[in-house]
Subunit: 123 residues, 2 copies
DNA sequence: CACTATCTACGAAAGTATTCGTATTAAAAC
DNA sequence: GTTTTAATACGAATACTTTCGTAGATAGTG
């Protein structure tokens, strides 16, 4: 499956968050942040259906769209392509930079440490 | 400074790795991975000079280009924009996914743990 | 039933990124 | 000194993404 574009990702995120939704639903959510025409959102979602990023139920007049990739799978793909284009494939470099540059809270650090421990145990 | 595009990033990476370089140098490196015309690379680098992603020395016939952003700064920007578009701004989510999905080696985990300790000490 | 609001379909325009052909000029090789 | 090689400049073609206007159909309202 091809990578979603930026606009498609925004829509996917809404579908992941809200579950199956109409164009109207998605459009209203998008409009909170950004001024956009309704048919723009419609067109994008139609393209997503064509590309297979979303499935749609056309049984009633108002079509209902559903993300056809799971949030985790899609983000795994995006992350791995980001790591390969920006960090030459080194997940470590990415993590070091993410932790080094951003002020990560102690709670978040704790969670990360916990995950690392559980990874180490399972080896 | 605007975010570099994918193609520009590939070129920047070469400039970071090799230091100041001619179009020929960069083009040869790119050609290892991908078939591309010389003038394509030239044009991209000219655009990068226009946009300010690279500086060029035109004192001799063969122009020499230099990245005008540091690798760390550019990647910090890219990372932060990736985190905001894909992880709703949560660096923690990104790190958890990067560690969770990729098989990170023990050495890498050790390095990450070391960094976390040093962050914690400096708080 | 007529009127209005709301939906989809479709195509085209606008914006951005990438690719490359051609012309011109400068250096190098012979 | 002439020919070949290698460089830049420039503009246009291609491709991909985003935006939106218009048309036609369906549902709801008075």
């Amino acid at each position: 499956m091809a990578k979603p574009t930026q606009s498609e990702l925004k829509i996917l995120q809404i579908l992941w968050d809200k579950g199956p939704s109409s164009v109207r639903d998605v459009h209203e959510k998008i409009s909170e942040d950004k001024d956009a025409g309704y048919t723009t959102t419609l067109k994008l979602m139609q393209i997503m259906a064509e590309k297979g990023h979303a499935a749609r139920d056309t049984s009633s007049r108002t079509h209902i769209y559903t993300a056809s990739v799971s949030e985790n799978d899609a983000k795994t793909d995006l992350l791995s392509s980001f790591i390969s284009s920006t960090y030459k494939g080194s997940a470590k470099s990415l993590v070091l930079q993410a932790l080094g540059n951003n002020a990560t809270s102690q709670e978040d650090l704790d969670e990360i440490k916990k995950l690392i421990s559980s990874i180490e145990k399972s080896k």
